[in-house]
């Protein structure tokens, strides 16, 4: 004799806000990505969003913050703020740099003259993998990315 449990409908109205600060060290990137991807999985973002869009775009933003914004200076830190619910993910990556011109720095790496370059694909991938990418200054240089959840 085996009984089946009363079925529990999935949680709606779940909202998670997460903050984490890391040193200017690229070795922390993978853990931050995993923590945030896990929140998205829990909220039923689709597989591709949690294995491609979020991990890659977030890795780009974090490595730019660490390498470009903070120039890997040990005294500087990167702050990550994430707010995620079943509608959308908003992630802000804050570095202690002087900021940059998002549109000015974004190049098209698919142009023939760029395709064999080693660098210059980060901002492009962020913009292709997220629904929006913004940059502004607020106690540091902030890059904000937004992704709408898909089933």
């Amino acid at each position: 004799m085996q009984s089946s449990p009363p079925t529990a409908p999935p949680l709606r109205k779940l909202r998670v806000a997460l903050e984490v600060e890391i040193p200017s060290d690229v070795r922390y990137i993978e853990q931050v990505v995993e923590v945030i991807a896990r929140q998205c999985r829990q909220l039923a973002y689709n597989r591709r969003q949690t294995t491609l869009n979020v991990p890659v775009a977030l890795t780009e933003a974090l490595s730019n913050a660490i390498l470009r914004g903070n120039e890997e200076k040990p005294a500087k830190h990167v702050q990550v703020r994430c707010d995620v619910d079943s509608d959308r993910l908003v992630v802000e990556v804050v570095d202690e740099g002087t900021g940059f011109d998002l549109n000015g720095c974004m190049e098209d790496p698919t142009l023939p003259e760029n395709i064999v370059r080693e660098d210059g694909r980060g901002l492009y991938l962020m913009s292709r993998l997220m629904d929006s990418v913004e940059r502004f200054s607020n106690h540091g240089n902030v890059v904000r990315m937004t992704l709408r959840r898909h089933d």
Binding site: E30, R48, T51, L52, T59, S63, V116, R117, G122, L125
Partner: protein, 110 residues
Amino acid sequence: MSFAIKKDGDIVVVDVEGQLIVGNRQELKQKVLDELERGERKFLVDFSRTGYIDSSGLGVLVSLSKKIREQGGELRLADLNDDLKTLFELTKLDTLFQISDTREMALQSF
């Protein structure tokens, strides 16, 4: 994440296990350049056990491919999952590399 390097005939096969990102791409680069230095010319990167790749990981593949070609060799890729295929398509790097569906097909292609 780690890189396992094996020889299959005269082909150097690199398995990328886990992520290929800014934190470890330098290690991949060095390992492959060491083999190139030793005289190896045929290289295959197998992505069957790879998670995600970031722009700096892609960049390392581009730069290795260039360096190997300069020595008359070739770098080919195999077994990209759908996510990785999307990355190569978005960046049009699928036009720069010879990409095989499986490791076996890639090995035979050399």
